[in-house]
């Protein structure tokens, strides 16, 4: 209710301003518009409220909710990418919805249903193309980021008549996208530099059931986690001709795995110096790998099965949340000593963590408490609690400038 009122107050002047600009861009805005605050979007973000199919626009400077936008459909497992000007957020919903949200006018700019069951997306290096990864029918579709018109359809047909769920879709330098085939055990590299001639390279037999993937921050290495076997599959985008290499193959051989109650996410793979921290599958461990040798250098015992392992932007600490039944806890690991230096219990259903661009705050979504919690990363103090309906993903606009997010 509060949001609705707030929105109707702020929306009108903005529309007035927008309309004024469209007609005569260099005329001084009308007086009523002058009185409202002009602003950038660099400290804004989007929070997914999956229960209600809505998103909140939040401001990390003021630590408050600016608006709630309804009507985005089934948002379980929804994710978001941002336009390079950080004005628009593209929300990928489970029901195949692709929604373009305007952070300034706090409205839905465009919305299409592009597929049956989508799982995530990416935006191209130049911001002109949105790629969406679909489970049903399995494949990836490309859209113009302004109009949301379809540019290409890339069905993940790994054997005649067999389509795979696609996972781990990321953007890569050179107007490329990379994704993995969960059922097909393949990695596909898509070159979208020429819209009328999209080229796809297939890497087969990369391993059983790739479930998610990540890009190193410089956009060089694409690494897919394997659910069906130990190890990971790595593609070096500086040398795509060299094929996919298996890494960490010997890790955990012969050890019994525990059941996995929530698939870990690799998106937040934390790379601090030469070390990469990432979640072990089916084990209460965070793994540490040397990025020069691609060898495992440490296993850090943690409170439960990790879901997200995220490095603070200054790389000093790594924050970890957990799968059921340990999803009420967050642990903070020192990247130097590998010790757990802090443990928080924000409440049941800690689903996601997002750092402000320079890392002084971290925002947590606590689903079962219907809360967003903001912590000071230095002191670990709780700064703010904000109401949200079963919040899941939190996405800040600074992602616009990060490859692979």
């Amino acid at each position: 209710m509060k949001h609705a009122i707030f929105r109707s107050l702020t929306l009108l002047p903005w529309l007035a301003l927008a309309a004024g600009c469209a007609v005569a861009p260099d005329v001084t805005p009308p007086k009523s518009a002058m009185s409202i605050e002009l602003r950038g979007t660099g400290d804004l973000g989007l929070v997914i409220e999956r229960e209600t199919g809505s998103v909140q626009i939040i401001n990390t400077t003021q630590q408050k909710t600016l608006a709630a936008i309804q009507g985005l459909g089934d948002l379980s497992h929804a994710s978001v990418v941002f336009s390079r000007d950080e004005r628009y957020a593209y929300v990928f919903g489970r029901d195949g919805g692709l929604t373009k949200v305007d952070l300034l006018t706090q409205t839905i700019d465009k919305r299409i249903i592009q597929g049956g069951n989508s799982i995530g997306g990416a935006i191209s290096q130049d911001g002109s193309i949105i790629a969406v990864s679909n489970y049903e029918p399995g494949g990836v579709k490309l859209f113009d980021s302004q109009t949301l018109e379809q540019i290409a359809d890339i069905p993940a047909e790994y054997a005649p008549g067999k389509f795979s769920k696609t996972v781990g879709l990321v953007d890569a330098p050179g107007h490329r996208f990379v994704f993995s085939l969960y059922d097909g055990g393949e990695i596909w590299l898509v070159d979208a530099s020429n819209r009328s001639d999209i080229k796809t390279t297939r890497y087969q037999n990369v391993g059983l059931q790739p479930y998610d993937a990540l890009m190193s921050p410089d956009g060089r290495y694409y690494v897919a986690g394997l659910f069906g076997e130990d190890g990971m599959a790595r593609l070096d985008l500086w040398h795509p001709e060299s094929g996919v290499t298996r890494i960490l193959q010997d890790y955990g051989k012969g050890e019994a795995k525990m059941p996995v109650y929530k698939m870990p996410h690799l998106e937040g793979w934390a790379i601090a110096g030469n070390q990469a921290f990432f979640p072990a599958v089916g084990r209460n461990e965070v793994l540490v790998m040397d990025m020069n040798t691609w060898q495992l250098t440490g296993k850090i015992p943690v409170h439960g099965q990790p879901v997200f392992v995220m490095a603070q932007p200054d790389n000093r600490h790594v924050w970890v949340n957990f799968a059921l039944p340990h999803n009420d806890t967050v642990q903070v690991i020192d990247t130097e000593s590998h010790q757990i230096v802090r443990q928080l219990t924000p409440g049941k259903g800690v689903l996601h963590m997002e750092f402000t661009p320079r890392g002084e705050q971290v925002w947590l979504s606590v689903r079962d408490e219907n809360q967003l919690q903001v912590y000071d990363t230095l002191s670990g103090k709780l700064l703010k609690q904000l109401p949200a309906q079963a919040p899941s993903g939190i996405f800040f606009s600074a992602r616009a400038h990060e490859t692979g997010l």
Partner: protein, 125 residues
């Protein structure tokens, strides 16, 4: 590369073997239970709410919030009604080794799992 591939299929073979053995075992066990408890005793109200919440969110993270499918298959009544209730019971209780479907026996009693199967097959929220 081909050596690698061979190795994979052997692993997969064993995993599958193990999986089917466990499923058969699971079905046997569940038949045993079924004969004892012919009808699922519905859980208490508050527990029902808890379980419904769990189905929605925690099963939902793989099967979709609205059960339309995700990494796991859809759990919609039209399809689930074509599968025997005891097979579903066994899948939920013991999971399916070799796939991401985990066992839920530490979270629910058998009665609760029977009740979950009913909820799913009848498409109740």
């Amino acid at each position: 590369m081909s050596g690698l591939h061979l190795f994979d299929s052997t692993t997969a073979f064993f995993v599958n073997r193990l999986a089917s053995m466990k499923i058969i075992f699971g079905v046997l066990i569940s038949l045993l239970f079924l004969s004892v408890f012919a009808y699922a005793d519905a859980p208490e109200d508050t527990r029902q709410k808890e379980i419904q919440h769990l189905i929605r969110h925690d099963c939902g993270s793989c099967h979709g919030l609205t059960r339309k499918g995700g990494l796991g298959p859809d759990l919609l009544p039209e399809r689930l009604q074509t599968i025997a209730a005891d097979a579903l019971f066994a899948t939920i209780k013991f999971g399916r080794p070799g796939t991401p479907m985990p066992p839920w026996q530490d979270f629910f009693t058998d009665d609760e799992i029977h009740w979950i199967v009913e909820q799913l097959q009848e498409g109740r929220e």
